[in-house]
Symmetry: C2
Subunit: 331 residues, 2 copies
Amino acid sequence: MSEAPHITFDLDTPGVSTGHLVVPKGADCEALSLPVFSLNKGEGPRLLITGGCHGDELEGPIVARRLVEWLPERQTCGRVIILPVLNPPAVQAWSRNTPIDGLNLNRVFPGRVDGSVTERIADAVSRLLLPAADTVFDLHSFGPTWDFPPASTTHPIADVDLMAQTLQMAAAFKLPVTLLWDHHDTHGMFDTWAHSQGKVFVCAEFGGGTVGADNLVIYEAGVRNALIALGLVEGKAEFPTFRQQKSGQTLETHPPDELKSPAPGIFEPRCSVLDEVNQGDLIGILHPMNSLSGESIDIRAPGTSVVFAIRSGAHVDVNEGVALVARPLNT
Amino acid sequence: MSEAPHITFDLDTPGVSTGHLVVPKGADCEALSLPVFSLNKGEGPRLLITGGCHGDELEGPIVARRLVEWLPERQTCGRVIILPVLNPPAVQAWSRNTPIDGLNLNRVFPGRVDGSVTERIADAVSRLLLPAADTVFDLHSFGPTWDFPPASTTHPIADVDLMAQTLQMAAAFKLPVTLLWDHHDTHGMFDTWAHSQGKVFVCAEFGGGTVGADNLVIYEAGVRNALIALGLVEGKAEFPTFRQQKSGQTLETHPPDELKSPAPGIFEPRCSVLDEVNQGDLIGILHPMNSLSGESIDIRAPGTSVVFAIRSGAHVDVNEGVALVARPLNT
């Protein structure tokens, strides 16, 4: 019997503590030690910040690492736990899924203590860190094959009060977009599990493409704004610039808002994120690449909407998503 | 004995022709058919345009595909051959190297007719397409894990006349940067082989990160400018905007100009491409991710230079490149 999942220090220790969340070994790999930071200033909000769920979304770990250096001088109350990298094997491989078992950590919550490594990570987080928080910020981005605006996102939640609290928390990031994202593939998400436990959980999906200095400034400002709104630090919200003033919208998107490729080929984006489009406007072009004698295929907007995410130029299969559009949230 | 590499039509046919370059089957896979476009308007420059050498650099195939539609109305003389995708298996896998044999197509030229699939592609191109051209534009970008400005590049060439002609051709793209790039890893490059055959060969490395609509406009303008300079089409050069007027520099970079990571960890970029830096300026930060108790490590500029390429936020190994700096070409 291997050791149980545990944290190498007591989360109730006052002040700054650092150590590790130990995910026990299994048949597929040795134990993992995930670095954890805790800053306990007593009464107040209890916040968990995580990053690095997907190994090719590195904004989160970088911003989390910045907070580890920044918070000790700033936090005035409450408790903050930071786990910059949820999935070290995926981060080291620059891979969305864990290379060892091929699983997507964000689809296996709450995990299994006797499962494969991805399930064991989810189990350790669900069992040891989630109960210590009332609010969770999970710092994602949209990965290298899409362009996506800086946004805080959540999914529809059946509990009306928790939905309202979560949307309010998401809006407090004061990023260019707050998104209510309705999609079908939510089973096993960290969000879904945390919401079922009554937690306010905001999944930041900001970014996409290259992780650059400009994007990181916007990303970090968003997280700081949310810390101010929670009352953990003092200060005034900043409104970072993105694409010249295209900011401050709350949007919603539903399954039919995902535009799909009509054929296999190379997708050419013809618009940018946050562009406003009307029915028939050109979103992109699909170039079948098996012959140069045929026509390429236009992909057009189904109606008045905002281009929320657009696929990077890449080879896609038929029915693979190439863009997401959204509309103002109907509250 | 399998069939020999061949083109399914006669490149001497006047006007527009489309067909395929057939790369024969081998022990590792079936024959490949690479779509080829030819536009023969008789006397004049003979140009070969290729893209998709690396499967995660898709600007090239998209711009090449656009030219296939645009050129027939514009080309006034000479001969242009376009091969939008040199390496279909790599493009389909969004992989730099060919997934079948793991080889980098841009390191196996001139290839081998009885080699693995990557070598057979190089052989077919070297044997059948390269002799039909005096000038080659190979449309690369720098891949998804770096940020890189729109640039036309070449390497040092021993033949002084060919060096001068090649630099002049590269500058005719009129992109923000023309780069003379001295590095050690040039054996087997398409460039190196083409230069050895006396061809003017410009390797466009513009782009990096997400393939977006904005970048594609710049990319296509660069190629059109070069077509105008060659005399194949009529028109005036355009100077697309990139990062507010940071344009028109000719730079050089040498092996010591590659900054390397001092330790394994996550690299955080702290500047942007084309930023001018002085000795000691912060380029980025390396965050060791095995513990949160230690300090992160600053990576600073070795001297006055221009940040030419910067690694996206990503996990890197010790001694892995994280930035390239450059200086004005000393002519």
